[in-house]
Amino acid sequence: MYVAVKGGEAAISNAHRLLADRRRGDRSLPALSIDQIVAQLALGVDRIMAEASLYDRTLAALAMRQARGDMIEAIFILRAYRTTLPRFGYSKAVDTGAMLVERRISATYKDLPGGQLLGPTFDYTHRLLDPSLLGDNEVETGLQREPGTEPVMRVSDILAGESLIEMEESSEQNDAPGDITREPLEFPLGRDERLQALARGDEGFLLALAYSTQRGYARTHPFAGEIRIGQVEVEIDIPELGFAVSLGRVQVTECQMVNQFKGSAKQPPQFTRGYGLVFGQSERKAMAMSLVDRALRASEFGEDIVAPAQDEEFVISHSDNVQATGFVEHLKLPHYVDFQAELDLVRRMRREYDSAQEIVEEMKEAAE
C-alpha cells in the first residue's frame, strides 16, 4: 500500500534544530560575541546595514551571526525587522559637507583644502596573507591627525565655484523625496527614488554594472572627484520647538564622481555628476553606485540608451538582492503541479511525433 509523505511540521522543526547546531559549530570553541563581530568584522556589518537600510551595528552583527555569515541572508533578516518599525518622522537631509572625515581622497586634484586623508584603507596594502593575524598579537594604536574643527570643503563645491559642474538639484525646489519602502515603484523613477534603490542595491550587482560602463557599455568618462568617509549629524525638525535637534551621528561613505559632458546649445560645457552615498564604510559600493547613477541619467542628458547600466527598469528591478534571492531560490519549492501539466503536454506531443514518424516509415517501406 502507498502512504503519502506526511510530517512536514516535524521535518521543518528538525531542520531548524540542525541549523542551530551547525551555526554554533564546535562547542569547545567560545561563541562569537556580537561585540566581536561589530569590532572585528566591521565592514561586513556595514554592508548589512547599508543593504538592509537600517543603521544599527548591533542588530546587523546579530543578523550576521544568525545567518552564519551569509550576507544576503543577514541583510534579509535585518530588512524584515526594519519593516516592522514604526516611523516617527523624517530627518533633514544630512550635510556631508559638514562631515567629520576620517578618510577623504580626490583623484582630480593633487592637493586641496583639507588635504588628502587616507584613513583606514586597504589601498596600498600588499595582499599577502599575514601570518601574524593567526594569533592575537598586540596591535599598535592607530595614529590620526588631530580632528579639524573646520568642515572639509567638497571637491564638487570647488568645481561649482567655477561653474564647471552641473548644479546640484536643490531639494528645496523639489517636492518631498519619495520613499521606495512605502510606495510602489512607478517607472520612470525620479532620481530620488533611483538613488534610494541603488543605496540598498546589491554591491556585487552594482559593481558589475559599474565595471561594464568602464569597459564601453555606456562609457561616462568618470573621475573620482572625491570619496569621503566619516560621521555626519542626523537632525530632525521639531515643529513645536521651531528648530532642528540632533539625533546623533552616523557613519557614511560618499562618492562624487565627476563625469564628462560636452554641453548643448542650451547649456555651456560642464562636468556632470554621479552620486553615491552608503551607510558605514563601503567605498566600493559608493563608487559603483555613483557610476551607475550617472549611467542611469542618460535620458536626462539626451544620451542614447544602448547598455544595460543605462536601462533604469532593468537595473532597478534587479538590483535588490533580497528580492532576487527569494525568487531564484523559490525554484526549490515544490512545482510538481505545474511540472505535471508540462509533462502531460510533452508526452502528448511526443506521442503525436512518434505516430507521425511511424506513418513516414510506413510510407517509405510501401514505396520501396
Binding site: M1, Y2, A4, V5, K6, G7, G8, E9, A11, I12, F76, R79, A80, R82, T83, T84, P86, T181, R182, E183, P184, L185, E186, F187, P188, E313, S317, V322, Q323, T325, G326, F327, V328, E329, H330, L333, P334, H335, Y336, V337, D338, Q340, A341, E342, L343, D344, L345, R348, M349, E352
Partner: protein, 297 residues
C-alpha cells in the same frame, strides 16, 4: 485587558502594522472594483523570502480576523513544507483557527491550485502570485505592458498562443494560462494548472491575488466572467487524466504523478489531499488504495 492585541506583545495582530494593513486594504477594495486589474501596492518585506508567498501572506494578513478559519495549501496539499510554514506563521501572529478541510475554511491561501471542492459564498481564496503580469514574458518592460492594458491591446498574447499552435500543434501553455476577466483585463491566474482555470469562472467565492515581490494585488469578485483565451479552431481545453486517483478512485480531478520505483512504476493520486482524504473516509477506494476500515465495517 486581555484582548488578542495585548497577548501578542511582540507583533501586531497578523504581523503587519496598521498603516500597512490600511494600504493593502485600500488596494484590495480597488482591485475588487476593477476586476482583473493589477493594483500597485507598497509591498513590505516579510519574514519569509520573496517568491515564497509574501504577496499572499500580506493579503491574508490584511483580511484575516479572529473569527476566521484558515487553510493553507501548496500544490493542493496542506502538508507541503511551505504550506506548513505559512500556516504556522498565522497561528503564531494571529492566533487564528486553522483547518485542512476546504469546507471549514473561511480564508484559503493557495499556491498553484484551486481546491477540487466547489468554493462557496463567504470563502476567500488568496493566491500567491510570482509574476502577476500576463504579458511579462512577451514584453519585459512594465512601462510597455501598462500601456497595453490601458489600451486593451492584447494582440501580442494571441500571436504568442497562435505561434504555439503553429509550432507544436497545441497551445503550449499548461499552467499560468491567461484569462480575460469580465471582458476587459487579461490576467495571470498564477501558476495553477489550466485544469483549474474553469473553477475561477463565476465562482461563488471572492478570489484575491497577491504578488509581493512584484508589488501587485488583483481580484476576481464572485460571479465574475473569467474566460481562458483561445481560438475558434483551437478551443481551450483542460488536461484529462487516463486513470482515476489510485487512492480514492476520483475522476475528473487533478492528479500528481508519484514515482514508485526505478523500474517505471508510477501512480497518479489526487493533488488535493483534503479532497482525497475525505473521499477515502467516505469509503471510496482506488486501485492502489486500501479500504477505509470504519467505512468498510
Amino acid at each position: 485587558m486581555s484582548t488578542p492585541e495585548t497577548d501578542l506583545a511582540t507583533y501586531n495582530f497578523a504581523y503587519l502594522d496598521e498603516q500597512t494593513k490600511r494600504m493593502i486594504r485600500r488596494a484590495i477594495l480597488k482591485a475588487i472594483a476593477i476586476p482583473g486589474y493589477q493594483v500597485p501596492f507598497a509591498s513590505r518585506e516579510m519574514p519569509m523570502p520573496y517568491g515564497w508567498g509574501t504577496g499572499g501572506v500580506q493579503v491574508t494578513a490584511a483580511v484575516i480576523g479572529p473569527d476566521d478559519t484558515l487553510k493553507v495549501i501548496d500544490q493542493g496539499a496542506d502538508d507541503t513544507t511551505n504550506a506548513v510554514s505559512i500556516r504556522a506563521f498565522f497561528q503564531k501572529v494571529a492566533n487564528v483557527a486553522v483547518t485542512t478541510k476546504t469546507r471549514e475554511a473561511t480564508v484559503i491561501q493557495t499556491r498553484h491550485r484551486i481546491p477540487e471542492e466547489k468554493l462557496t459564498e463567504g470563502q476567500v481564496l488568496v493566491y500567491q502570485v510570482p509574476i502577476p503580469e500576463p504579458l511579462r514574458f512577451l514584453e519585459p518592460r512594465e512601462t510597455e505592458t501598462r500601456k497595453m492594458h490601458a489600451l486593451e491591446e492584447y494582440g501580442l498574447m494571441h500571436v504568442k498562443l497562435y505561434e504555439d499552435i503553429a509550432r507544436n500543434g497545441h497551445i503550449a501553455t499548461t499552467y499560468a494560462y491567461p484569462v480575460k476577466v469580465e471582458g476587459r483585463y487579461v490576467m495571470d491566474p498564477s501558476p495553477i494548472p489550466k485544469f483549474d482555470n474553469p473553477k475561477m469562472h463565476m465562482s461563488e467565492a471572492l478570489q484575491l491575488f497577491g504578488a509581493g515581490r512584484e508589488k501587485r494585488i488583483y481580484a476576481i469578485p464572485p460571479h465574475t466572467k473569467v474566460v481562458s483565451l483561445d481560438f475558434e479552431d483551437h478551443p481551450f481545453e483542460v488536461q484529462k487524466f487516463a486513470k482515476p486517483c489510485a487512492l480514492c478512485g476520483a475522476h475528473g480531478v487533478y492528479l500528481d504523478e508519484v514515482i514508485l520505483d526505478d523500474k517505471g512504476g508510477r501512480m497518479f493520486v489526487c493533488s488535493d489531499t483534503d479532497f482525497c482524504e475525505e473521499r477515502r473516509e467516505a469509503g471510496h477506494v482506488g486501485e492502489l488504495g486500501v479500504a477505509n476500515k470504519e467505512a468498510a465495517e
